[in-house]
Every structure is written in C-alpha cells, then in structure tokens.
Symmetry: C2
Subunit: 433 residues, 2 copies
Amino acid sequence: MELKPTKPLSGFIELSPVAQRFVDECAARMLGILRVAGFSNLDLPAIERAEVLTDKDNWDEIETQMFLFQKGDTKMGLRYDGTVGLSRYVAGHLNDLTFPFRASQFSKRYRGERAQRGRYREFYQMDMDIMGINTLSTNYDAEIISVIQRTLNSVSEFIGDNYVRIGSRPFWDALFDYLGLNADQKKNIFILIDKRDKMGDEDFAEGLSDVLKNEKLENEIKSVFVTGYKNFVNKSDNLDAAITELNDFMKVLQDFGVKNAEIDLSITRGLAYYTGLVFEFKLSSFPELGTAAGGGRYANLSEKFSKTKIIGVGAAIGFSRIFVSLVESGKIDLEKFDASIVAAVLPMGNSSVPFAMNVVNALRDKNIATTVYLDADKKFKNQIEYADKIKTKYSLIIGEDEVSSQQIMVKNMATGDQEKMSLADTIKLLKTV
Amino acid sequence: MELKPTKPLSGFIELSPVAQRFVDECAARMLGILRVAGFSNLDLPAIERAEVLTDKDNWDEIETQMFLFQKGDTKMGLRYDGTVGLSRYVAGHLNDLTFPFRASQFSKRYRGERAQRGRYREFYQMDMDIMGINTLSTNYDAEIISVIQRTLNSVSEFIGDNYVRIGSRPFWDALFDYLGLNADQKKNIFILIDKRDKMGDEDFAEGLSDVLKNEKLENEIKSVFVTGYKNFVNKSDNLDAAITELNDFMKVLQDFGVKNAEIDLSITRGLAYYTGLVFEFKLSSFPELGTAAGGGRYANLSEKFSKTKIIGVGAAIGFSRIFVSLVESGKIDLEKFDASIVAAVLPMGNSSVPFAMNVVNALRDKNIATTVYLDADKKFKNQIEYADKIKTKYSLIIGEDEVSSQQIMVKNMATGDQEKMSLADTIKLLKTV
C-alpha cells in the first residue's frame, strides 16, 4: 500500500508543540489586553455566503482568490478577513447590541491563491473594531491605535518595539480634486500609491507619467512622499480640513499615551473600504515583516446589510504573519517554552499505579502540570529517559518501597538530587516552581 | 439597492457577546485542565488533502458530506474531525515527538450535509489523544477517561454531573466469531447496533431478523442489551479475554479516581476506526444532549501514513453540541457573564479626554476591565445610559471640576452611590471587584 503524504498542504501552517506553546502564550496575552480594554470577543462563522464576501460576480477570478464551494443553489466561501462578517453580524443585531460596540476577534482566515513566501493560505488575524450608529468621534480611532499598541507591547519581549504611521484618505481625495484629476486617473493613481513600496521610485514615477502625462501634476504628487502635506496648505478647504484633522489627531494620540506615532501620507491601506484616517504599525526590530497591524475608519461597509448608518473604526493584527514568521525563521528563543511539565510521575510496575494516580490527581488538583508514564512495566531506564526528553522539572518515582511507605522519591532533573518525601511536602515543593 | 442577508448560513453558529463569554469561559477552564494534565496543544490546518480525509473515491457522495474544493489538480476539504489530521501530523513527526505523545486540540470542524436540529455544519470539538509506538498500556485508556471527567467536572456548575459507559469492540468481534457470523452479517449487525438507540427495540429486532433469519442467534445478540456479557462467559477464549479486559479495566478506572463508570456493551462508537475499548460520557441533567464525549482505542489509523506502528487512544468532547445547545435552549443563567466591565470612564466634553485617558490607561495597566465613552460631546444622560446598558460595575465621571482637581467621581452603578476620589483610591477600590 502506498503511504499517504504527511506534510500539510502548501501555505498551511503546523507548528511543533513548543512553538505552538509560544504562539498560544502570545495570543493569550494579547487577548487579555483586549478583554481588559472592554472588547467583546466574537467567534463568527468561517464560512459566509459568497454574496456577503464579495460584490463582484466574476466567479472564475473569485474562485482563484478564495476557497469557494456550492451547496445546493448556495455559493459560499471561507472568509478572507474579519470585517465583512462583523459588519453583517452588527447589521443583524442592531437592537441587541449597545453602541458604540467594541468587538474583538481572533480567528483563522483563508486566501485561495497559490501560496507565496510569507503568505499563508490559512492564517490568524486578531481584529478589534468599534462601531457606532450615525456618529463616532475620531477619539475612537485613537483608542483603537492605543489598544493595538498595548497588545503589541504585551509581547515586546519577543517582538521588540513598535511604531505607527498615520495616513489620511480624505487628504488624497482632496488633493486629487485640487489637482483636477478625473475618476479614472484618481483610481489608477491610487493603485500606484498602494504599490509604491513594492515598485520603487523609478517605476512609480513612470506609472504616474503614464497616467497623468503632465509633469507638473506628477511632481505635485511626488512631493507628498518627500515633504508631506507641506505644499498643500491653504490650497483648498478640503485639503485644509484633512490636514487639520491629521494634526489634531496627532495631539489626541499623545493624550492617549500612544508612543512612536508620526504622520505618513504614503499610508493608504490600499483599495479597501477605508474612508477616513488610516494607520499601519511596524516592528522596529523586524522591518522584513512589513506591516504588523493596520486599519482605519470605514463609514460605508455596513450599507449593503442595513439602512442604518453604521460607522466603524478597526484594525487587524497580522498574528500569523508576525508570530509564525518569527518562529519559523528561528528568531525566537523557544527554550523557556520547552519545559511545560512540572512533574512526571513514574510508576515502577503496575502495582504502583494506584498510588501513582493518587499522587497525579492530587498534583493536578493543585494546578501543578503533571504527566504520568503509564506503560508501568517498562524499565526505570526507559521511564527516566522519557522524563528527560519531555524536560520535566521533577520526576516522581514510585516503586514498591514508596507504595508501602506512602512516600515519593522526588528527583530534581536539573541537579539530579533526589529525596523521599510525603505527598504534602511534594506539593509544597512543586507549588514553588 | 437590495440589502444582503444578515443571518449566518443555516447550521452555522454565532452567539451574542454574553453567550460567547460563557462559552469562552468554559473552553478556558477545560483547556486549563488539559494543560495541567500534560497535553500539548496543537493547532492543525482546517483544510487537508481529500486523500487524507477519506479513503473512498465516490466523489459525488463525499461532496455532499464534506466541504470539498479543488485547487489546480489538488482535491482538498475541510476536516470533519481532529483525529485524521493528528494521525497525519504524528506520522510526519515521528523523530521530533516524545512518545507516548499527549496532544490536545480545540478547533472547528465541518460537516457538509444539510443542517439538522442540533447538528451544526461548523462546530467545535475538544480532543485529547495519547499515542504510543508499538505499545500503549490500557492504563492510558483510563487516563484519557479520567482527564475527560476532570474537564467536564471543571464546568459542572453549568452542566451538572457526568457518567461514563464503557464498551468493548473486541467483545463484539469475539461474539460474532463465536456465533459463526459471516463478514456481511458482522458488518450489517454492527450498523444495526450503532443505530439501535435511534431505531428503538422493535425496529432493531426486525433488523436483526432480516440479517440473521435465525431466532436463536437473534436472541443471543439481544441478550447483550439486557444482561451484558453474562451469557458468554466460558464460551470462547476470545470472549473470555474481552470480558476479562473489561472487568480489569473497571478496577483500573477506580484506581484512577473515575466516578460513575459502568460497563455498557451497547456502546460501540459506530463504524469508526476503534479497535479496543470504547466509551461515551453523558450528562445526567441533560439526557437530551446525547453523547457529550466519546472515544476509544485505535490501533490502525496511522498505517496509511507510516510503516511505524502507532497506537492511539483518544476522545473528543462535543464542545458546541454541549455548550451552544445549552445556551440556545436557555438552560444557562447568563447573568454572571453579563457584567464583564468593571469601569466605564465617561468624559464630559473633549477637554476632559486627556485626563480621562490617563485614568483609563492607569486602570488597564492594573488589569481592571475598563471601557471609555469617547463621543465626549454627548450629554451626561447619553453617557450614563451607555454605562447602564453595558452593565459596568462603576462609572467614572470626569468633567471640568474633576480635571482641575485631578479627582474622579466614582459612581457605584448597583447602589447609585457616588464619591469623589483620587486615582490611587479609585484603583484600590476597583481592584477589590
């Protein structure tokens, strides 16, 4: 019989137990921050109707980008982000939720395209969104940024420092209007700006020239990437409003205690649904990871689900992008996650199992991480080898003598010292680990 | 524009924030038990190659049972359980893992069939498995049962008591041989036994008669459901071995501290991959939920992935089946999960926001669950209404006076009492909540 493959599909992640412990620890800390910041955790379906996931109907193309399937007459697919499902959920529960509604999500998302380096087809993102009805102060944009920074800081011992750059969609809208661009030009320039990082200055300049065919306009746009909004103060009411909003917002960020924040108008968050301020977090020590988290304000995302005006501001942390990448590239010292077991109980023979299990249950009742080797007829050598390999801190050896004296031979695996003691003293010792 | 549907697809679950908090709390407690019992948490891909998921090739039928899709030449699908992926993973990491290897999983699984009452198409199961190479003592079967009982006990305030029934696949194999059944009869009788609960005694008897056409044989099989193995002692070596194994195992369960365990040979765990002892947990207070957890020993599941003999014993807890059902049927008092916020900070006007955010950050630094109302221009009435609706324990009101005195008006939302105090005193008070 031919053996079936044991590797996961390309683009799908599976970690070693120790790496998984590291990743789980980071997730737990960050989710703790979100809970303390008053976010309600939601766990929405991974599968949505296709019409919820996309407004397009070029199914051949959509099928290459997503995981789509059809059940009966219903086209459905795996979600690629958390925001679309959240918008549907909020629109469907307007009367049950209290607004502004704070939601967090930590879930797997899916991309159907062929896997590329560092691009997973199944990946975690951690989302936080705040949604209001009809109105939502930009204070909430600052709150989201502040909370993201807190979550990233909670794991700074692994990922180092973070910084955030703030952009403005209204600025670009106002600039395009001021420069007199037509709708096609606006769209194409925006695509170029989004890809600027990847294309490099030369290709970007060429792209601008292809679209605008007007050196003066091209230079005006290029100037934004050099001197920011400087050339565009007092040029139009909309430009001034966008610039004022940005500057005021930077002061608010200070009030919120956000560190390492700067304006960067090249941040636009692509062609997505954002309508206001946008932002991206990066990690100072790991520039190669690119954007660690990003988000912004979206005013219109719920309009396809509800006639009520729902305004949101939110962000997603690229959880797998950060933590799986760091683990896989060996940049995390996993040693402190290696030892998760405090006690390995080793019964010498089946007649020792009943007392051994008393000990195991008593330790577990005290929340002491305890495993037990239950092929009890195996030799001491095999059992202690197992205890060594799983990097337990203590081995609790239980043979005939121990059963009759109801004492435990407690062996410190680091020092090799061993001592016979009562269950009560064993618990006392192991509680200090 | 026509609005898109806001309901999830049928068979998919989404909970209210408070119900989600309850479910998350239960998961956290149960996963804590597994961690303390020395299980390594694994998070495997939700999508597997179709050939990993199934040995069959009748794709039309498989497609109705699963969520399948094709990318390029590769057929793949969403997992329907945790065991198949785990077997693949373990076979692929024989040299990296220490055996016996203890793995836990808590993840979503998928069933493609049309949704029925209480049958979800996307659901959580919590798995625990122990895998050994070449040998694995039945002590490990007892360990799995003991650990499941501990996880269920950790949430007994919600789900009440549990009991476990133990069956034996070897008993049935030995009985069928003793009765001289042919391969077809064995298979068909086994299908009947598996469906016996749902069919009722009369249909079961009729089914037996259809297959066996021999009243004596039919009565022998029926007797198992009345008097257990009693009629089959000293009938064949294999029967005696199976009966002895079962009786010895019940003593081991006692040594392991397992409560409410009894032999029940009608437990067979269907047509699945089990080869040894099998078991099912039920909840005394919620018989309508059926099986809360089930599992057993499987000796051959990894043979399609590896030539090394991997023996496993494992079980899955029907997490969604239990907790989502209880929540949806209103059988859980969610009141204690209603109030997750300790402090709602209410700034009266934007000039109060900077001090308010100092307070918010200080409370969050102390792990006090704190939200803040940031449409600061809204009236006191709106803000306190919000605080009331989210059921915060305290409102921290910050207006001009508070900003200038750097004091906080702390309002106990249950009693209505309010008092001005310093930030340090506020933290002291709220830490006691």
